[in-house]
């Protein structure tokens, strides 16, 4: 029934050419894999930029070994990077990691591949829109990267691009253009995800039977849909300020480097911050919700029991989604906005921590009574809980107005949000890769390499980010090209060396993963359709799923996590198996 109502390109099973199969594909699975590979490459690029910056932070003023001699003398004379280049690396690191790495990985890759399978759909609702979404993302990302080659280099005003700095700095125009393209891509995706998730569910799959991962994707799609348009508009206004002589964000009487700025004035730099954070705070949850969904799936499967508090989990995700729209100005306590407003955002920020605590509580309680299998995906999912917990807890002194006065814009902030998005989101996304890899390729990733990758990665990530809390306590400001220029940074300078060494080690520990991924694709151990003995619908179709996914549209009889039911010969009962299989 579902299939007939959609005369998508997938109903034809004619053999496809290389181009329509691998490149301009409308199949959600191929698009998901395109997103997966592309976003992993962007993550690696963003990480590489950071590895360069880590040299400058650990050994300021020393020539970068090996790579320094390859860089042009404009950005690194004699191999020593300039302040401009450092700022370019910083701005691009943030932009690439957030907009080109984690969001496309969590939504474009995992959402695209897994969500239609989890709801028993033959494809996304709008396959061509889906293809267009990828084919806007990739050029947008390439444009962003290519801006390094332009005269003046890439954007260098931070990923936050605060006006007026962003308006007078070089590189920003291309950043804004690329952002407009990337945002458009995300919006197309969001519309598609919402339509698919709500309208194309298999018969019997009511909302209260949806897997948590699909719920997370739906909430994420709403956030993207509502939060991105204001930023897109804001970016176009900033673009106008740069190229068309408007002054939306420029007040009158600016004097830059001794020259009066030729702008009519009347604009307000705070306006940019409000518009930016109105997107960028929900964006934090866009980075975090899909990984939370992944962790929930893996934990239910690895403990062999239903998740504790399914309804609490879903309700918490929805309330996070709603609340995330009224906490944005906690990034702006010290921006010069009225301190009265600070009190309002203080209260909403404390409120949004409640559902976040509830989610972690449910995940921990889910372990109780389980029969925990320490598989590779499960290791990542388990590591998510305490490490994301550190990220959440350290948000507390930043969300409180008074303590934020001291900690705002210090390394403490960097430590906090990297614990959230790196040891939180990225760890969960890596776990998800190991978990769903058998579905993508019909083969399993190597277990031993997976364990090496896991332990190395977790130790290194903590080694990078934990010292930042200490540096932040000592008052070290973020975005410093040369921390040693300030006396109060000197005692904690050795910690920069520690962070940097762990960052480079972290890179080495990704090599087994890269090797494992590609070699398992061709040579991994063959597994059947449901190697993890899981209950949700994506395991009901062949691995890899054929065109149209399901041979026959599945019918759903029960909730998503029916593990260890009594009177069963097996300890899992898939959603699509008929009830008479009981007994």
């Amino acid at each position: 029934m579902v299939k007939n109502s959609h005369s998508s390109p997938h109903d034809s099973h004619a053999p496809q050419s290389f181009w329509s199969h691998y490149v301009f594909s409308t199949d959600h699975k191929m698009i998901g894999l395109q997103y997966l590979i592309t976003s992993f490459i962007f993550l690696l690029i963003g990480f590489s930029l950071m590895m360069l910056m880590r040299w400058q932070l650990a050994f300021p003023g020393h020539p970068i070994p090996l790579i320094g001699s390859l860089l042009s003398s404009a950005v690194a004379p004699n191999g020593v990077m300039t302040g401009e280049f450092y700022n370019q690396l910083g701005a691009m690191h943030g932009t690439i990691m957030v907009f080109l790495g984690i969001v496309p990985l969590g939504v474009g890759a995992f959402g695209n591949y897994v969500m239609p399978l989890q709801i028993g759909a033959p494809d996304m609702a709008f396959p061509r829109l889906n293809m267009m979404s990828y084919w806007l993302y990739l050029p947008g990302g390439l444009l962003m990267l290519l801006s390094f080659l332009l005269p003046g280099g890439a954007a260098q005003s931070g990923w936050t691009s605060y006006a007026p700095l962003a308006i007078i700095n070089p590189g920003q125009t291309v950043w804004l253009l690329a952002m407009v393209i990337i945002i458009t891509s995300s919006l197309l995706g969001a519309v598609n995800f919402l339509t698919t998730g709500l309208n194309m569910r298999a018969p019997g799959l009511s909302l209260d039977r949806l897997p948590v991962f699909t719920w997370a994707q739906l909430v994420t799609a709403v956030l993207l849909l509502l939060a991105f348009p204001p930023l897109e508009a804001a970016a176009i206004l900033q673009l106008m300020d740069r190229v068309a002589g408007t002054s939306f964000y420029l007040p009158a009487g600016l004097v830059v480097l001794g020259q009066q700025v030729k702008a009519s004035g009347g604009g307000q730099p705070l306006l940019w911050q409000h518009l930016f954070w109105f997107l960028a705070h929900p964006e934090v949850y866009v980075l975090v919700l899909p990984p939370m969904g992944i962790v929930s799936e893996i934990i239910a499967n690895g403990t062999r029991k239903p998740l504790h508090g399914y309804k609490t989990l879903v309700a918490s995700m929805i309330s996070i989604g709603v609340m995330s729209f009224i906490v944005w100005a906690h990034h702006m306590f010290l921006s010069g906005m009225s301190p009265m407003l600070g009190n309002f955002f203080l209260v909403t920020t404390m409120i949004i921590s409640v559902p976040s605590v509830a989610i972690l509580t449910c995940l921990i309680y889910s372990l109780k009574g389980g029969s925990i299998r320490f598989t590779v995906p499960m290791l990542w999912a388990l590591a998510f809980i305490p490490l994301f917990g550190i990220g959440g807890l350290t948000g507390l002194p930043l969300g409180l107005t008074t303590t934020d006065i001291y900690l705002h814009d210090t390394y403490y902030v960097i430590g906090h949000f990297h614990y959230v998005v790196v040891t939180g989101s990225i760890i969960a996304l890596l776990g998800g890769t190991y978990y769903w890899f058998p579905k993508w390729y019909g083969r399993k990733m190597d277990e031993t390499l997976g364990r090496i990758h896991f332990w190395g990665t977790v130790v290194c990530m903590n080694g990078i980010f934990f010292p930042m809390f200490i540096q932040g306590m000592a008052g070290q400001n973020r975005r410093y090209f040369d921390p040693t220029a300030h006396l109060h940074n000197l005692p904690t300078q050795p910690l920069h060396v520690v962070s940097s060494v762990f960052a480079w080690l972290l890179f080495l520990f990704q090599l087994p993963f890269i090797y494992n991924f590609f070699s398992s694709m061709f040579k991994g151990e063959r597994v059947d359709d449901n190697p993890w003995e899981a209950t949700t619908l994506e395991w009901a179709c062949p691995s890899p799923p054929p065109h149209g996914n399901f041979v026959k549209t599945p019918r759903v009889y029960r909730g998503p996590y029916e593990y260890s039911l009594p009177d069963q010969t097996r300890d899992w009962l898939p959603q699509h198996e008929e009830a008479k299989a009981l007994t």
């Binding site: 307000q268 006065i405 109060h488």
Partner: protein
Amino acid sequence: MNGYYGWGLPVAASTYAHDIDFGIIMIHVAMFVIFILWGIFFTYLLIRYRRREGVPAERERDHGALKSLLPDIIVMIFEIGLIVFYAIPSWSRIKMNFPDPSQSNQVDVIAEQFAWNVHYPGADGKFGPREPRLVHFSNPIGLDRDKPAAQDDIVFANEIHMPVGKPTLIKLSSKDVIHSFFVPEFRIKQDAMPGMVIPVWVTPTQTGTFEISCAQLCGFAHSFMRGEVVVQTQEDFDAWLKSRAPAKQEAPAKASESW
């Protein structure tokens, strides 16, 4: 090194520094306790419920709601306490209540790439007007020297002097981009926003030389935007102020008056 800095919080040198430190330390103790308790419980669960042959998982009966809300309720009570008894009162003390200007050492700080310009009103206690069109390398803040209020004004860069034990009221502004005025020892931070004048106050509690650093990305030399706060006794401060006062200018043949 002067012993102010280390691996923890720097020396606390203002009246409200202890308020902020109290919050930071209390929250970190709470965070530590929460993390350790959860960590012990988490580790226990992992060991107790690891997979063992012949021991199936136990399905819990659905009594989840209250149990999973309990940690939430505790956290919520703690947070409400923090808001009501700590954050809102201390925030309004620091950011919303300002000392009486006539009883304070008044100074305007005008940030630019990449320096802190400091403007004292001089003996008359009145700030001369500043005009963007007058900005010149010899007059970085565009002070209109022709105006009477500006005659005795003192202007220099990257050094703010303050008397100990008396409030200093700073009016913070910026000529070009956003900067952020941060003195770790005072625990004070405030963005300097172009187009706005934002008041900041501090009462130093000990003499010494402290560091001003810019906490908001302001361009390629952001990390070199550094200044010093010199906290002196009232006598030393008065003497310093007198020594920096502009020399009485000879009246230049009435020229400026007739303009």
